[in-house]
C-alpha cells in the first residue's frame, strides 16, 4: 500500500521525509489488491478481500456454533455472550422497529446481517488483515440488494400490485396537483436511490475510515526522520485515536445498516394510506 501499487507495506520501503522521497499518500490504489489466485484481468480471481469475507463468515458461524450448538437452559460463558448479542439485535433493533409479533420472522435474517456487516467492518483493525471488507462496494451492495428484494417481495405480498404501486409512489390524492411530481420523486427515491444509499452509506464510512487510518499510519512512518520524528509521534497518537474511533464507527455502521433494513421491512408490512 504505497505510492507504487506493487503491494509493499509502507515500512518495507525506505521512504522517509528529507530523503528526496515524496509522501506515499493513500488513494484508490490502496483499495485494489493483487489477486492471490487467478488473473486480475478476467473475472476469475481470488484476492484478500474475498479471503477475509469467507474467513469472516467462518468466524461468525464458528462463534455461534460454539455458543448455540448445544444450548443449555443454564448458559455457559459463550452461550451467555451469544445470547446477549442475539438479544441486542432481536430486542434492540427488530422488535423496536417491526414489532414483536411481525418481526419475529425476520430476526434470523437481521441477526445474520448485523454480525456479518460488523465482522466485515472489524477486519479493518484486526492485525495482519487490517482492511474493512465493506470498503469494497460489492459487499455492501450485495447485502443492500438482498434487503431491497426482500422489501419489494414483501410489499407485493402484503399489498398486491396496486398496493405496491401506491406504497412505492407514496400515492396520496389529497396533496392535489403536485401528485405526479411527488409520485415520480417517491418512486425514484424508493426504487433506485434506496439500495444505492443503503450500500454507499456503509461503504463510504468504511472507505473513509480506512483511508484515515492509512494516512496517519503512512505519515507516522514517512515522518520518521530528523525533526520529523516529533510529527511522527503526533501522527502515531492519531493512529491510536482513529483506531478506537473506527472500532466505534464499525459497530455503529453495522447497527445503522440493520436498522435501515428493519425500517424498510416495516414499511413494506405497514398499511399504506
Amino acid at each position: 500500500m504505497s505510492a507504487d501499487p506493487t503491494q509493499v507495506l509502507a515500512f518495507e520501503t525506505d521512504c522517509h521525509i528529507f530523503n528526496g522521497c515524496g509522501f506515499p499518500a493513500p488513494g484508490l490504489h490502496s483499495f485494489l489488491f493483487k489477486p492471490l489466485w487467478g488473473d486480475g484481468d478476467s473475472n476469475l480471481y481470488f484476492n484478500k478481500t474475498m479471503l477475509l469475507a469467507l474467513l469472516g463468515s467462518i468466524v461468525i458461524v464458528g462463534f455461534f456454533w460454539v455458543a448455540f450448538r448445544k444450548p443449555k437452559v443454564v448458559p455457559g460463558k459463550f452461550q451467555m455472550v451469544g445470547e446477549a448479542a442475539y438479544d441486542f439485535v432481536r430486542r434492540g433493533i427488530v422488535y423496536e422497529t417491526i414489532g414483536k409479533r411481525e418481526g419475529e420472522k425476520y430476526v434470523p435474517f437481521m441477526v445474520s446481517l448485523f454480525f456479518f456487516v460488523w465482522m466485515m467492518n472489524l477486519w479493518s483493525i484486526i492485525p495482519v488483515a487490517q482492511f474493512p471488507v465493506t470498503a469494497i462496494i460489492s459487499y455492501p451492495l450485495v447485502l443492500a440488494v438482498i434487503v431491497w428484494f426482500t422489501w419489494i417481495i414483501l410489499t407485493f405480498k402484503r399489498h398486491g400490485f396496486v398496493g405496491f404501486f401506491k406504497n412505492v409512489t407514496g400515492y396520496d390524492p389529497t396533496i392535489g396537483p403536485v401528485l405526479p411530481l411527488s409520485m415520480s420523486i417517491e418512486f425514484f427515491s424508493n426504487i433506485l436511490v434506496r439500495p444505492f444509499t443503503h450500500a454507499v452509506r456503509l461503504f463510504a464510512n468504511m472507505f473513509a475510515g480506512h483511508t484515515l487510518l492509512l494516512l496517519f499510519t503512512l505519515a507516522s512512518w514517512y515522518l520518521l526522520n530528523g525533526i520529523g520524528i516529533a510529527y511522527a509521534g503526533v501522527s502515531f497518537v492519531m493512529v491510536l485515536l482513529m483506531t478506537a474511533f473506527e472500532l466505534f464507527i464499525q459497530a455503529v455502521q453495522a447497527y445503522v445498516f440493520v436498522l435501515l433494513a428493519c425500517s424498510y421491512v416495516q414499511g413494506a408490512l405497514a398499511e399504506h394510506h
Binding site: P5, T6, Q7, L28, H29, F31, L32, K34, D39, G40, D41, N43, L44, Y45, F46, T49, M50, A53, L54, G56, S57, I58, I60, V61, F64, W65, A67, F68, R69, K70, P71, K72, V73, Q79, G82, E83, Y86, V107, P108, F109, V111, S112, L113, F115, F116, I136, I137, S138, Y139, L141, V142, L143, I146, V200, F203, F207
Partner: protein
C-alpha cells in the same frame, strides 16, 4: 504494464462493483444466514423458551407450595383449637364428676352415721326394756319371798299376790319420778 495499474485505470470509480467480490460476498452471507437461520438461532430460541417456561414453572411451584403450607397451617391451627376445647371439656367433666363423687360420699357417710346411731339407740332401748322386765320379775319374787318370810305364811292366792306386788312397784316408780 502492471495489471493492477490497468485495473485501477479501468475502474477508477470505487463505486463500480467488481463482479467476483459480489459473488463471494453473496456466498459469505449465505453461509452465515444458512447456519444461523436454519440451525443455531432456532436452537437458542428453543432453549430461551424452555428457560422462560422453567422460570414460570418454578414460580407456579412456589405458589403451590405456599398454598399448601397455608392450608396445612390452618389445619394445624384448627386441630390445636379443637384439642384445647377438648381438654377444657375434659377438665370440666372431671371437675363435675369429682364434685358428684364427693357429694355422694358425704351422703353415704351421713346415712351410715345415722344408721349406726339409730342401731345404737334401738339396742339401748331393747336392753333397757329387757333389764326393766327382768328387774320387775326379780323384784316381785324377792319381795314376795321376803314378805312370806316376814308374814310366816305363803300367800296362796297368786292373783292377789300379783296385785300387791304391782301396787308396790308402782309406788316405787312414783317415788323415783318424784325424786328425779
Amino acid at each position: 504494464m502492471n495489471p493492477l495499474v490497468q485495473i485501477a485505470a479501468e475502474s477508477e470509480n470505487p463505486l463500480f462493483p467488481p463482479i467476483p467480490e459480489l459473488v463471494i460476498g453473496l456466498i459469505a452471507f449465505v453461509i452465515v444466514f444458512g447456519f444461523l437461520g436454519k440451525k443455531l438461532l432456532p436452537n437458542i430460541n428453543k432453549v430461551l423458551e424452555e428457560r422462560r417456561e422453567a422460570i414460570e414453572g418454578g414460580i407456579e411451584k412456589a405458589e403451590a407450595a405456599q398454598t399448601e403450607a397455608q392450608s396445612v397451617l390452618e389445619q394445624y391451627k384448627a386441630q390445636l383449637a379443637e384439642a384445647r376445647h377438648e381438654a377444657a371439656r375434659l377438665r370440666q367433666e372431671a371437675h363435675e364428676q369429682g364434685a358428684t363423687l364427693i357429694a355422694e360420699m358425704r351422703a353415704e357417710g351421713q346415712r351410715q352415721r345415722e344408721e349406726i346411731v339409730a342401731a345404737g339407740h334401738a339396742q339401748i332401748e331393747a336392753d333397757r326394756k329387757a333389764a326393766a322386765s327382768a328387774l320387775r320379775q326379780d323384784v316381785g319374787k324377792l319381795a314376795t319371798e321376803l314378805a312370806g318370810k316376814l308374814v310366816g305364811e305363803s300367800l296362796e292366792d297368786h292373783a292377789r299376790q300379783s296385785r300387791v306386788i304391782d301396787r308396790f312397784l308402782d309406788e316405787l316408780e312414783e317415788k323415783a319420778e318424784a325424786a328425779r
